[in-house]
């Protein structure tokens, strides 16, 4: 008997201790996911004093009336449904019932009205104010609250991109916040939103945390869908750790310093996918990478030279090199993941060196240097420039690279002071927004590369139109016109590459690229 007692103690006590320890850990230690960020956030105010990281962070705390779905289409978020009047001038949002702010107060239509009035106040300095105050497609004339859960927006002109603009992450998703987020004098305190996470500790320059909002009211859908759908949080805390250096970020992932790196380079992807315990998540994104021309330049004002450049680039080879084989060629400004990317948009420039030489000869080009601006902050822009230079040599185009710091390049872009420029536009989630970013009157907006009155008319129509097939026809016409005009050469859309440690479940990359930590859980082994 004594022997059995000893044996039972010998095996039983450690087993029991382990079980108890595991239980204590599970019950006592809050679950935490650490995510690498390449820079600190700028502020916690949605769409104000923001950058890419600030947008990604704030989208966990606040939610708008509508939001982007996984496929970059727009769907309801805080709204149960949205109805648009026949004349396209009245938008009625019916709010979901039972939604609570993070301070426990219920969401009402009055809160929506208050938030929008706050955004539309120029003193707020909301980034997206120009889109709604008449400088853009239309102006919000009035916001009214006919019922406690119904809010009505009246605009002056039909606007096919109103909901898409409202959903933009750089606008903070037009996230609805409780009035207590702002002090009596109008200064920002902290976001009190309706999202699945609340603002946690922010150690500037080190990390910023999110805490799970325990009373979050998810939508009825079974799963998350982009920035909408069921956004239930499964971890207690998320910490975004600031790691500016890519090599250090990789080291942090390998050593367990972080669990998720939402944005790694194609080179690192090739290495990390072979490391045991790492999972790679890729998705095409909506960034627009290409070469811009200054069409008012004495040399590049000749469309034959611009077309010769477009025909001299071996796009397949270039994109394979730039993206390590992860992206595909796209000569359209409509991203490949857009619902409006059709067969017409798929049409691009052929690789035709003979025709390029013929055009250059006809234009009287005889090797005059053409300056191409690149920068080293974003390696893909630099590489795009270097590859273009090499490929254009084959037809005798003399490209001289001018390497600038990113801030200086942005200034040259804004003023239109360049001949050629390797550039990458931040994602536009609607085809009209993509065209809008490049089309305009150069006298008024020197940054616009495509100054064609016919294109402007087509764009205005596309911006006002909300019927999809009619918009598609307009985008097809715009693409054909752009291929003929060659104000720029679109080359490809980027790829979002996220790497997560084994044991992190539910994390996905997506066309909008921003990390999302709702719907993400820790497997039992990694807690």
């Amino acid at each position: 008997m004594h022997h059995y007692v000893k044996k039972a103690l010998y095996f039983g006590v450690p087993t029991l201790s382990l079980c108890l320890a595991a239980l204590t850990l599970q019950a006592g230690e809050p679950s935490l996911i650490k995510v690498g960020f390449n820079g600190d956030i700028r502020s916690t105010e949605p769409g104000v004093n923001r950058d890419e990281n600030s947008d990604a962070f704030i989208m966990h705390i606040v939610e708008g009336l509508v939001a982007y779905r996984e496929d970059a289409s727009v769907g309801p978020m805080l709204a149960k449904d949205v109805t648009i009047s026949d004349d396209g001038l009245t938008y009625t949002f019916t709010l979901r019932e039972g939604v609570k702010f993070q301070n426990g107060k219920p969401l009402t239509a009055e809160d929506v009205k208050w938030t929008w009035q706050h955004y539309l106040d120029p003193k707020t300095q909301w980034r997206c104010l120009p889109e709604f105050d008449g400088r853009g497609v239309s102006k919000i004339l009035d916001i009214s609250v006919p019922e406690p859960l119904k809010v009505v927006f009246r605009i002056d002109k039909p606007n096919g991109v109103l909901l898409a603009t409202m959903s933009r992450p750089d606008c903070g998703g037009s996230g609805i916040v409780h009035p207590d987020s702002v002090a009596a004098d109008g200064t920002w305190i902290a976001p009190i939103g309706t999202g699945p996470f609340t603002l946690g500790q922010w150690k500037q320059g080190q990390y910023v945390e999110l805490n799970r909002f325990k009373d979050y009211t998810p939508r009825a859908e079974a799963k998350p869908d982009g920035f909408t759908g069921n956004k239930q949080a499964f971890v207690d805390r998320v910490r975004f750790v600031v790691i500016p250096d890519a090599a250090s970020a990789k080291a942090a992932l390998l050593s367990g310093g972080v669990d998720v790196l939402p944005d790694v380079t194609a080179m690192d992807e090739a290495e990390l996918k072979n490391v045991p315990g790492m999972q790679v998540r890729t998705s095409p994104v909506m960034t627009l990478g290409g070469l811009l021309f200054q069409t008012r330049d004495p040399l590049l004002g000749d469309v034959r030279i611009r077309r010769a450049v477009a025909l001299s680039l071996d796009y397949s080879q270039m994109v394979a090199t730039l993206s390590n084989g992860l992206s595909t060629v796209n000569n359209s400004i409509i991203p490949t993941t857009s619902a409006y990317y059709d067969a017409t948009a798929h049409t691009g420039y052929p690789y035709d060196l003979d025709e390029a030489r013929r055009l250059l000869k006809a234009a009287g080009y005889h090797g005059q240097p053409i300056k191409l601006i690149v920068n080293k902050r974003y390696p893909q822009m630099f590489d795009m420039g270097v590859l273009s230079q090499a490929m254009l040599q084959a037809v005798g185009v003399n490209i001289v690279l001018e390497t600038l710091e990113w801030g200086a390049q942005l200034e040259r872009y804004q003023s239109g002071n360049f001949q050629m420029m390797a550039f990458s536009y931040s994602p536009r989630f609607d085809a009209a927004l993509s065209y809008e970013s490049v089309t305009g009157n150069k006298d008024k907006e020197p940054r616009k590369v495509w100054d064609n009155p016919k294109a402007l008319v087509l764009l205005r129509e596309a911006q006002s139109e909300s019927v999809a097939p009619k918009r598609q026809a307009l985008f097809d016409q715009l693409h054909t016109l752009m291929l003929a005009d060659v104000p720029m050469v679109m080359i490809y859309n980027g790829t979002s590459i996220g790497v997560v440690k084994a044991g992190i479940e539910g994390y996905r990359s997506w066309p909008i690229s921003k990390p999302r930590l709702w719907g993400v859980s820790l497997a039992a082994t990694s807690k």
């Binding site: 300095q125 980034r127 500037q204 750790v241 310093g257 801030g407 804004q414 931040s426 970013s437």
Partner: protein, 313 residues
């Protein structure tokens, strides 16, 4: 000595004023607009003008300078354009991180490198001397970021002994704080060791050739006594000047190491503020660095007589 200190501090005032003008003007000559960097590729002209106005960038450069210098003289370095934080507390917070690493690393490097240099000089041209010189030269030649990454890979990833990224303050958790600081301190110690050891060796060789050392040996003093009591004091004076220069240089920021080890130091703050064209932070950083140089050089000068009695203040 008091008059010397007052004189030196008095001399620092015009230097700082001149530097403030240069810093202010030079920063504004750098192409790139902070408002544009904040608004990005979607900025329209009106939004840009509004942003510039809200940041106070719509005034003339002279007016901007006068507003800034008036605030500086009242102890207010302004607010960050990027994060809207007050610059002075931000600088002090970040400087404490850089200063901890730099002071510990330079102290360690000096404590190790001086005896090593002394020993190498004593064994001049021996295999030991050649080995030490080669080692010091090697360490001197390795870029700090590369050495940092190597150590990070070995001790952080392969062995898993030390954390790879992050920072914990001593106030929060002293033990954890040490684990986060070990790798950057070791990296910096190794990098600075080379320069200090070589200087210590060279100045000791020079001193060992002097008559008073021959006299000490002739008196029958042991080699240890000759080296430590007689050679070290004189040989250390030039090394101390070098240590002062290194300190001044490093306290101004170890941006590369801070980036590799993701430490929230003043160097990284300065680099970030350059990229963001965050003028108030950048001006604050440069002013702080100038003050550090002035103070470190003053301290070195004040301590000089301890090692070389011929120097009078």
């Amino acid at each position: 000595m008091f008059r010397f200190i007052l004189h030196r501090l008095g001399m620092a005032v015009p230097t700082l004023l001149l530097i403030s003008v240069m810093v202010f003007a030079l920063i504004r000559f750098i192409p790139g607009d902070p408002a544009l960097l904040m608004l990005g590729d979607m900025a329209d002209a009106q939004s840009l003008a509004q942003m510039r106005s809200s940041l106070g960038l719509d005034h003339s450069v002279v007016t901007q300078y006068l507003i800034w210098i008036k605030s500086v003289l009242s102890g207010d370095l302004g607010f960050s354009i990027s994060t809207r934080q007050a610059v002075l507390p931000l600088l002090l917070e970040r400087f404490s991180v850089s200063a901890t690493i730099v002071l510990v690393a330079v102290a360690l490097a000096t404590l190790i490198a001086v005896p090593v240099g002394l020993f190498a000089a004593w064994k001049q041209n021996s295999a030991m001397d050649l080995g030490l010189v080669a080692g010091a030269t090697l360490l001197l030649s390795i870029p700090s970021f590369w050495l940092g990454l190597l150590l990070l890979y070995a001790f952080g990833i392969k062995l898993g002994w030390l954390p790879v990224v992050g920072y914990v303050t001593f106030a929060d958790d002293p033990l954890k704080a040490i684990t986060y600081l070990v790798l950057p301190i070791v990296t910096l110690t190794l990098v600075e060791f080379g320069a200090i050891a070589r200087m210590a060796r060279a100045s000791t060789i020079e001193v060992l050739r002097l008559d008073y050392i021959a006299h000490a040996r002739a008196k029958g003093l042991s080699e240890g006594a000759v080296l430590w009591r007689h050679a070290l004091r004189n040989a250390f004076a030039p090394t101390w000047t070098l240590v002062g220069l290194i300190l001044g240089n490093l306290l101004g920021g170890i941006a590369v190491l801070e980036t590799v080890f993701t430490l929230p130091g003043v160097g990284r703050l300065m680099v970030d503020s350059i990229f963001a064209r965050d003028y108030p932070v950048l001006q604050g950083c440069l002013l702080l660095i100038t003050c550090i140089y002035v103070l470190v050089n003053l301290c070195v000068d004040l301590l000089y007589p301890l090692f070389d009695p011929r120097v009078k203040l």
